[in-house]
Amino acid sequence: MAVVFEKTKGLTDKPFHYCPGCHHGIIHRIIAESMVEMGILEDTVSVASVGCTYNSYEYFACDAVQAAHGRAPAVATGIKRTLKDKIVFTYQGDGDLASIGTAEIIHAAARGEKITAFFVNNAVYGMTSGQMAPTTLLGQVTTTSPFGRDASYQGYPINVSELISQLTGAAYVERVCLTDFKNIQNAKKAVQNAFKVQQAGLGFSMVEFLSTCPTNWGKEPIEAMDWLKEKMIPQYPLGCFKGQDIDFKNLGRQDAEVKS
């Protein structure tokens, strides 16, 4: 019988520990598929961070390094400077990247560090049970904003992609979501664009994924998906914030020509 679909070789056989309805599984899959399709699985080092994906290194079939909370872009810098011809990516949540690791991500981008950051924004701390994140929406109830996030008391959400896109060193920044097939295909394209930017040495690249967290949002998976569409996207509009002019179709080709 013909195989019409199989698990990508970019993932190991270890079963995911993620909650039902969480988008980490989809994001893992499209990154892993992209590594295989682009032929870079053997040449990639991933950097796991702290949060629900602390052990993403057990799922991605590439070599991997686990980093301290927020420090993944610094760790990735050390790896990439050592292994200049390899692909290095970080996989970070919003608490990791947008709170404790703000300095590391901003400066990695400002240096134009030739790494890729995959940033998963689910507007909440997942692993530590639903605390307010820098990306938590105004009015959103979390375990540390039990009366809803109040701007006068807890400030405003950070739009990371818009922020990073202001930096000259950032070559490609795109925000995507995974609510349906079309968006997932689009997200996968963004992942590949980010890898291509790194391969071509254009600078720092980042893809922000809007993701659900049914467990900590206290919602059913379908409800969570609707909440993401209705509440998160207005605060975090989808689209490419940096690198709109890059000719991705010919990017790899130009690179290949330069090498030959």
């Binding site: 190991t12 699985l41 053997e42 040449d43 990639t44 080092v45 950097v47 796991a48 602390y54 052990n55 290194y57 057990e58 991605f60 079939a61 590439c62 070599d63 991997a64 390094v65 686990q66 980093a67 301290a68 420090r71 610094a74 760790v75 990735a76 810098t77 050390g78 790896i79 990439k80 400077r81 050592t82 292994l83 390899k86 692909i87 300095a103 590391e104 901003i106 400066h107 240096r111």
Partner: protein
């Protein structure tokens, strides 16, 4: 072997030694009084095609070290006390993930922002852990610019051999001091295979994972036992110290690095007064040379120990543990960036000799 002697500043010699040891990755953040290490690296590392990154903070610098070490490189960072405090998180992770790296602490006086003058007040932080968890760093305390050179080269060999962080513990005096240094034609570089490094699979059947997290308590305990076995081996094999005059000394001084330099002169002055003083100078602060101190405590000729430090008395606790109550252990220290004078130490020796010291 030694071909040329050049006059160089301690901090610059550390950087030169690292380059000679094959270190091609340096990540740092500016802080006085270690800045010359960074300045030297900023120029020379780029000239030879290595990596120099001025990080956004000490926290980032040590994590860049973590990344480069994970990728199999020889890597170094340098800083001074407040900066080393910031690096402790990364140092703990380096210990947990068993990565080889060299960190230099040109100690200044604390606590807090403190001052920029020399101190040995980071002894506890360096030798007892510093960051969270049960771990050790190999801590080396050179006492001259020549030793800074030789021991920095050796630090990289030790780091690679034991897959751990080796700390060079100097102080503002040593870092800023200029002395002649004789460089070798060829460095004794120990090449260690790193099949564990995350370099990209490149055809390997399995993927390498560098991590310090073990969620299962039994796994984490097993990991800790492995680490402790390693530390025990190091305690048995890597203790370094210098000892002189102990065989007929009435008083044995314990002092490391800059303090030992001052004490050397005092020992000569005491001899002129007819007081026999010897010295045990720890070169490795961890593993600590407990055995030679214990052996000296057992000698009939040794009546007392005198520990001299640029602190309120930190290493003296390890000296007392080694002496184990067999002989009195006296202490004299200066703080705030001040150095003890020869006169101050000599007066202390005379007081001990005359039985006036309590």
């Amino acid at each position: 072997m030694a071909t040329k002697r050049v006059l160089m500043k301690g901090n610059e010699v550390i950087a030169e030694a690292a380059l000679r040891a094959g270190c091609r990755n340096y990540f740092g953040y500016p802080i006085t009084p270690q800045t010359e290490v960074m300045h030297y690296m900023a120029k020379k590392m780029v000239e030879i095609g290595g990596n120099f990154v001025q990080a956004e903070s000490e926290v980032s610098a040590i994590n860049m070290v973590y990344g480069a070490a994970a990728a199999g490189a020889r890597v170094m960072t340098s800083s001074s006390s407040p900066g080393i405090s910031l690096k402790q998180e990364g140092i703990s992770y380096i210990a947990g993930a068993e990565l080889p790296a060299v960190a230099v602490n040109i100690v200044r006086a604390g606590p807090g922002l403190g001052g920029i003058q020399p101190s040995q007040g980071d002894y506890w932080q360096a030798t007892k852990g510093g960051g969270h968890g049960d771990y050790r760093n190999l801590v080396i305390a050179p006492a001259s610019v020549q030793e800074l050179y030789e021991l920095t080269v050796e630090a990289f060999n030790l780091a690679d051999t034991y897959r751990m962080l080796v700390m060079i513990l100097g102080d503002g005096t040593l870092g800023q001091m200029m002395e002649p240094v004789a460089f070798r034609d060829e460095e004794p570089i120990k090449v260690v295979d790193k099949p564990w490094a995350a370099t990209g699979r490149g055809g390997r059947d399995t993927h390498n994972m560098i991590t310090s997290i073990y969620i299962n308590p039994d796994d984490l305990e097993a990991k800790n036992r492995e680490l402790q076995e390693k530390y025990k081996y190091i305690e048995e094999h890597e203790v370094r110290y210098e000892e002189f005059g102990v065989e007929d000394a009435e008083i044995v001084i314990t002092a490391f690095s800059t303090c030992s330099r001052i004490c050397r002169n005092v020992i000569r002055q005491a001899a002129e007064l007819g007081i026999k003083v010897g010295m045990i100078r720890p070169i490795t602060l961890w593993p600590f040379p407990s055995a030679p101190i214990a052996a000296a405590a057992d000698r009939d000729n040794v009546k007392a120990f005198l520990d001299i430090e640029l602190s309120a008395g930190q290493m003296v606790e390890d000296v007392r543990l080694a002496v184990c109550g067999k002989k009195p252990v006296y202490f004299y220290g200066r703080m705030g960036g001040n150095l003890p004078t020869q006169k101050e130490i000599l007066e202390k020796i005379i007081a001990i000799h005359e039985g006036r010291e309590v």
